[in-house]
């Protein structure tokens, strides 16, 4: 393959259009937001993008495996409620207890969804719609009103310098690399590892064609369950960030993130039919999505229209990459004769 055809292939790739849109959004935001390149603004932007990025990557894993998770928002809320219910203010060790209990809860959440989707073969939308109320119910039981206790060091998931007992070098480190970025990197590392194992390969196979995956001898239900549990791990990371930031749990805080994460995954090129797309491009989708809300915020669009504009821009972004794919097909660059 010569250089030019490689370039051509690269440009005709729909992922290229996503990168273009991302760069466009980035530039627009940089123009509109004053101090965009100031350190504080950068850290703040990363902070505000982190939850959606993590939730989108998790959702992407489930969608690729052929599922869809409508319970991620309530699951996030539930995890914050569990964390803040187990922790006791002024008892540092209770923070560790909370981590263990909440992680167990996260895995349980993934397993319940996985059992419904994989083993009971209930349509994913229905299972997770139902479980979303279960998570919400438990969360409301634990924490009828927002609040709860946290230990001081839990702020390390948001701002290390706020932790009084942290050594100076850690505080300095936290100033250079914000914890939210580390959480995102943790998520990336998690998927990087998974994608290089059989599980990662099988998630694509099951989502792409579960019948033939089954006939090849893959335990499809177990793979779908694992996908749900990986999603839960991503949600868990987001929950850590939220509790670190807000120092409280809230049974309703996660709700708006559910559909945003799905939409962002689609913007990132994850096919809702399963089996197609890249989790790292889901991250890019989440970035595009986040930049859109920044742009709307900074563009002085009247409050009343902000939501409306947000919706329109997302549709335009998806349609643009769709049209791009179509037009590059037609120009015959994909000399695919089927």
């Amino acid at each position: 393959m010569n250089k030019q055809s490689f370039l051509k292939r690269f440009i005709s790739n729909p992922d290229f259009s996503r990168l273009l849109i991302l760069i466009l959004m980035f530039v627009l935001t940089a123009v509109l937001q004053r101090n965009f390149f100031a350190k504080r603004a950068i850290v703040r932007n990363i902070d505000s993008f982190t939850p959606l990025i993590l939730m989108t990557m998790g959702q992407a894993v489930v969608i690729i495996s052929g599922g869809l998770d409508l319970s991620v928002g309530p699951a996030l809320s539930l995890m914050t409620c569990v964390l803040t219910s187990v922790m006791r203010e002024g008892v540092p060790i209770s923070g560790l207890h909370a981590l263990v209990v909440a992680f167990a809860a996260a895995m349980a959440i993934g397993m319940v969804n996985g059992i419904g989707i994989g083993y009971l073969r209930i349509p994913p939308v229905i299972v997770t719609f139902a479980t979303s109320f279960i998570w919400l119910g438990i969360a409301l039981f634990l924490r009828p009103t927002p609040g709860g206790e946290t230990v001081d060091w839990f702020q390390a998931f948001y701002r290390i310098r706020n932790v009084e007992t942290a050594p100076a070098f850690l505080k300095a480190f936290g100033e250079t690399i914000p914890p939210s970025l580390l959480l995102v990197l943790t998520g990336c590392l998690l998927w990087w590892i998974v994608s290089r194992t059989r599980t990662g390969r099988y998630i694509y196979a099951v989502g792409g064609n579960s019948q033939s995956a089954y006939e090849t001898g893959i335990n499809t239900a177990w793979v779908q369950m694992k996908a749900c549990m990986i999603n839960s791990a991503f949600i868990f990371l987001a929950a850590l960030f939220f509790v670190g930031q807000n120092r409280s749990g809230d049974a309703r805080m996660g709700d708006p993130l559910t559909l945003k994460a799905i939409a962002a995954a689609v913007v990132g090129g994850i096919a809702l039919t399963g089996g197609r797309g890249s989790v790292f491009f889901a991250l890019i989708g989440a970035l595009i999505f986040s930049f859109v809300s920044k742009i709307i915020f900074f563009a002085n669009i009247p409050n009343a229209y902000q939501t409306l504009f947000g919706g329109v821009i997302v549709i335009v972004a998806i349609a643009a990459s769709q049209l791009y794919t179509l037009s590059s097909r037609r120009s015959g660059q994909e000399s695919k004769l089927t």
Binding site: T197, E215, G217, T338
Partner: protein, 497 residues
């Protein structure tokens, strides 16, 4: 040495008996042909052996022990691999990932992609040199997909390999290399079961043949002792004496031109294609698989909007930018993949037959159900579609009868041009004859003209008045009458630019 023996296998689905005491014996180092019409129980037998279905009665001995597998995976571990008729590949994985799927080697925690690529390349190179194992499966053409499918089965080092119509999607060069691979496997002691509707393939490659009709064995032929007599085999398959093809005399006289296509272009798939179609003519489109024939058929049917060039019907310029405009001009398509493009599988024969009518502009507000049922019954009669009644879901019909329904849905229309895209693919000898009998009859009465694309050269030779050979989207040769021979087709198809 007998490696597998299936005795007295019975299987019914609902009220339909698929197998009624059928037997099959496979010997080490031998290729056994499994023949029969669609719905005669060939696929069911293969699927029972590999554990996709469980038999109602009968027993299977494998390596001298009675076995009963519950999943294809169990059978695979015992050394029985099967290439399924319907594609079992994951479209969004690469060739190599598909071949090793389920049997990935790991280095520590991570997948060993290098070993996988090497293994896949070794196998693929025997079957189709030049196929890049890193390509995504959804980018491949049907023939290449079939090759991957076969490679996947071979990669498990089976002792018994079941190939269920592996050649249906292959072009002849690919069939040749498949046969070479099969011979190599057989010489290593593998037993192979081979099914195909193309008799010459069976006669060329098989050592013995078992013929099924209505779920029973009607003949066990040993080709080392018996002569290979196609007419006898056909009579075993169909249960009646007769030829496999419909007699047709080629027409040469000059007739008026019905369809004139000039300088048609579509991306890199169709390049500068021009041809005339005369009244009452069968015009063949041939060549290697995937040279733009399929796209040409779809372009003529109005499936693409970006096609350039001129199309004239009876001397009047027409635009074919959407399927509706093609249908309005009575250019009707029988698509290649009937299950995906031609039918509403879960719906009844009746619904499928009348559906095109519902799109007509002059459609009454309320559907005249009774009248349409009468018309549908007539269609079922004309094409001798085998179905219990009009309300049977179309996917309960055998492949050949499904194909007849696809043709039947256009019967109520005046047809100018009928586009047939590989109409006999996966259709048995009997149904194929019925189908061509109807088409040849219509053409003889000048009721319509036909553009026929077939992947099997036999059909082109048998039925076409003229034949166009396509290569890389261009028409590279035109043959007429007696010039149309297998040698000529192969020679012009393989032409190197």
């Amino acid at each position: 040495m007998t490696i597998l023996e299936a005795r007295g296998i019975r299987k019914h689905f609902g009220g339909v008996v698929a197998l009624d005491g059928a037997n099959l014996t496979c010997k080490q180092g031998k290729i056994t042909g499994l023949l029969g019409a669609n719905g005669s129980g060939k696929s069911t037998m293969s699927k029972i052996i590999t554990g996709v279905y469980s038999a109602d009665a009968g027993e299977i001995t494998y390596n001298g022990r009675a076995v009963r597998y519950h999943s294809p995976n169990e059978a695979k571990q015992a050394g029985i691999a099967m290439v399924f008729q319907n594609m079992s590949l994951v479209a969004d994985l690469t060739v190599c990932q598909n071949i090793v799927l389920g049997a990935e080697k790991t280095r520590g925690l991570f997948l060993d992609n290098k070993a996988a690529a090497q293994l896949s390349k070794e196998i693929v190179d025997q079957l189709l040199p030049g196929l890049d194992v890193r390509r995504m499966v959804h980018e491949l053409n049907p023939g290449e997909m079939q090759v991957v499918e076969i490679a996947k089965a071979i990669s498990t080092n089976p002792r018994l390999l079941i190939l269920d119509e592996p050649t249906a999607a292959l072009e002849q060069a690919q069939v040749k290399s498949l046969f070479d691979t099969m011979r190599r496997l057989v010489s290593k002691g593998v037993a192979i079961v081979f099914t195909s509707h193309r008799l010459w393939e069976v006669m060329e490659i098989c050592d013995e043949a078992v013929i099924f009709r209505n779920g029973r064995n009607v003949a066990d032929l040993d080709f080392s002792r018996e002569v290979k007599d196609p007419e006898k085999i056909v009579s075993f398959i169909t249960g009646e004496a007769g030829k496999a093809t419909v007699e047709r005399t080629r027409r040469k006289e000059n007739r008026e031109i019905v369809l004139r296509v000039s300088n048609m272009n579509y991306g890199s798939c169709i390049r500068d294609v021009s041809f005339d179609l005369k009244r009452g003519e069968i015009l063949g489109i041939g060549g290697l698989a995937g040279q733009g024939q399929h796209e040409l058929m779809l372009a003529l049917a109005g499936s693409y909007s970006g096609v350039t060039g001129e199309v004239e019907l009876h001397g009047k310029k027409i635009r074919l930018n959407k399927p509706a405009s093609a249908i309005r001009n009575s250019i009707l398509l029988v698509p290649g993949d009937r299950q995906l493009e031609g039918l509403f599988l879960g719906h009844s024969v009746f619904t499928n037959l009348i559906f095109p009518k519902l799109g007509l502009k002059a459609q009454p507000l309320f559907t005249p159900e009774k009248k349409y049922r009468r018309e549908s019954e007539k269609i079922v009669d004309t094409l001798s579609i085998v179905t219990h009644n009009l309300d049977m879901p179309v996917n309960s019909l055998s492949g050949g009868n499904q194909q007849k329904v696809v043709v039947g849905k256009w019967l109520a229309f005046d047809t100018n041009v009928l586009l047939l895209a590989d109409p006999a693919k996966g259709v048995d000898v009997g149904a194929k004859r019925d189908l061509y009998e109807y088409i040849v009859g219509q053409v003889a009465e000048n009721r319509m003209s036909v553009v026929l694309y077939a992947s099997d050269n036999e059909e082109l030779i048998e039925y076409c008045d003229r034949l166009l050979i396509m290569y890389e989207g261009r028409i590279v040769a035109t043959m007429e009458g007696e010039e149309i021979t297998d040698d000529a087709i192969v020679a012009t198809s393989m032409r190197v630019r």
